[in-house]
Amino acid sequence: MTDYTLETEAGRRESLRRMLTIREFDTKAGQYFADGEIPGFVHLYIGEEAVAVGTCAALDPDDLISSTHRGHGHCIAKGLDTELMMAELFGKEDGYCNGKGGSMHIADVESGMLGANGIVGAGPPLATGAALSIDYQDRDQVALAFLGDGAVAQGQVHEAINLASTWDLPAIFLVENNRYGEATPVEKQHNLSQLSDTAQAYDIPGLTVDGMDVTAVAEAVKEARKRARAGDGPTLIEAETYRYRGHYEGDEQNYRTDEELEQWQERDAIDSFKRRLIDRGELTEDDFEEMQAAIEEAIADAIEYAQESEFPAPEEAYDDMFSESVPEIEAFAERIRTDGGSNGGDA
């Protein structure tokens, strides 16, 4: 198994590699979205890489995560395959969800990734439920919910954290505070200046960490995991970070200044981690160039895989509603397909 922890040299290099992979994957996803090959909406994780990677490096491979609409980074940090991810973004049969989910619903339950989510704040109740399953079956796992700063205002997030803390479930709530809930600054959405203070309402530990520092994130999650496994209940961690791209691709970003973006980019998580590894003698510029080149090639392969993959057959639209077919869908499908092969929706 790949060494993936901030505590070993190999693990640190792997962490850097995953951060770079996220950036390259999302850079290309943005390009192919702009070109029109990726339909729908995409929300890119560029700038926030240290949060997902620091978190997942501190988790065990068997642990479960719930994600957000900005989920590509969580997937890559958790170890999902970039070819299957890209195929899903392209709406292809070989994608993780056979083209039914796309960027906002990418999931791989088998790998412990319980889904990106198009509803802000919907992940934490699911993670609480996953923690309930873990607790009920006494499994050696934890469930971690990624949520954004905007989600902290959602009612169902409160219900989820309250339930997890009341039952001492092995859960972790990881708030990615990237300063904006969609286009509205965090100050206009909350009366608290530190979102981790919400933890006080549940009598659980709450801490704010530098989300541009992969090691700081990993240390906080490691501690939270230990606490969760000891049966002491959840922890709420706020990671202060910043997204370099808009809320979604195409967002005009008139709500922030170039200066603000540049200030955050000066503290870029990948650059600083790379420098740290070089300073420690664990990486050379040549190593880095080599790593970057390999990642560019891997993501180019992922694009090619996605482009060459087939679209799902149209009649697959009727599959996967239930564990078994229901007569209603069978009958409706038969009528539509008998009358010409589509429900009038073909352009």
């Binding site: 791989d108 699911l126 079956q137 219900e159 509603m321």
Partner: protein, 333 residues
């Protein structure tokens, strides 16, 4: 449950409430991944006393009291069902579904499909519906049409004690999300219930509760019993066939269509509001398949698009019952 089916089984007499509790008990014994969560389901025994003493029998891990937090309960049940356990969540009154609707419509109902079929969703939601006890507008609703309408959810609504047991057990054993809509006015209704622990009713199978020749009454929940009483009172005059669909989604269209082809007349009696709902769906299917067998306009009996009022004379005014079923039959026979 149809008389002929019941005669095949060893049965005992019990109330709907007892039959649901027995179903829950048997499934807790049958599968250790099954557990109950909800408000006051544990030590208190359930606000309408359905879970009763299951807490004492199975302990607090398996009959788990929750905070009053419907979105949290349903969300946790959904997340748990996707990760290896089989929760049975109780929503105390169906009116509280609104509080949890986000998790129901965007997570529970969609996860399997959005993920390309790569997760099961073995979650059961039990909830109570219906007016008749002066519980007023926020504790008397009949909302099963919403759930039946929403793709990705299954819905059952028993009208007899046997159906209550068989459907509850089938719901818990299903790998899909199933809502069990219990009409609170029939908890004390008695009936014959099969004792076999393997007894389940396949979701999507209706029951012909009484055979007749002149008119088909498709009745649900409390109105099954009321329709049977009407059929009895009209016997010798009008021969009434009574069908309990038992499952609302999927719906056993064939059994209903076959009956309408025989009788040529139909009344649909369901407590939900009359517009845009369960009645319309059943009627649409009947006319699609049996249009040329119909001898009269299909009639519907339900709540006249009002909320359930508090004061008894107001509530009785809008609550559909046997007299309304009888009037509807009279209009077309």
């Amino acid at each position: 449950m149809a008389q002929a089916e019941l005669e095949q089984e060893q049965t005992e007499t019990m109330t709907v409430r007892e039959s649901i509790r027995q179903a829950l008990r048997e499934e807790l014994e049958h599968d250790e991944d099954v557990y109950i969560i909800g408000e006051d389901v544990g030590a208190f025994g359930g606000v309408l006393e359905v879970t009763g003493n299951l807490y004492e029998e199975f302990g607090e891990e398996r009959v788990r009291d929750t905070p009053i937090a419907e979105a949290g309960i349903i969300g946790a049940a959904t997340g748990a069902a996707a990760t290896g356990t089989r929760p049975v969540a109780e929503l105390m009154f169906s009116d509280f579904t609104g509080v949890a609707m986000e998790q129901i419509m965007n997570q529970m109902a969609k996860m399997r499909y959005m993920f390309g079929g790569k997760t099961d969703m073995p979650v059961t939601v039990r909830t109570t519906e219906g007016g008749g006890m002066g519980a007023a507008s926020q504790h008397s609703g009949t909302i099963h049409s919403w759930i039946s309408h929403f793709p990705g959810l299954k819905a059952v609504a028993p009208g007899t004690a046997a159906a209550a047991k068989g459907l509850t057990k089938a719901a818990i054993r299903s790998d899909d999300p199933v809502f069990v809509f219990e009409n609170k006015m029939i908890y004390e209704q008695q009936g014959e219930v099969p004792t076999d622990v393997e007894y389940t009713i396949p979701i999507g199978e209706a029951a012909v509760e009484r055979e007749g020749e002149d008119v088909t009454v498709v009745g649900t929940q409390r109105l099954v019993g009321e329709a049977l009483d009407v059929a009895e009172s009209l016997s010798g005059d009008v021969s009434v066939e009574v069908i309990d669909p038992r499952s609302l989604y999927p719906l056993d269209t064939d059994t209903i269509v076959e009956s309408v082809k025989k009788t040529g007349r139909m009344v649909v009696a369901d407590e939900s509001p009359l517009s845009y709902g369960t009645h319309a769906e059943i009627i649409a299917r009947a006319q699609e398949e049996a249009f040329f067998s119909l001898d009269a306009p299909i009639q519907r009996v339900g709540t006249p698009d009002t909320h359930m009022p508090f004061s008894t004379p107001l509530e009785q005014e809008v609550l559909p019952g046997g007299e309304d079923v009888k009037d509807a039959i009279r209009r077309i026979t």
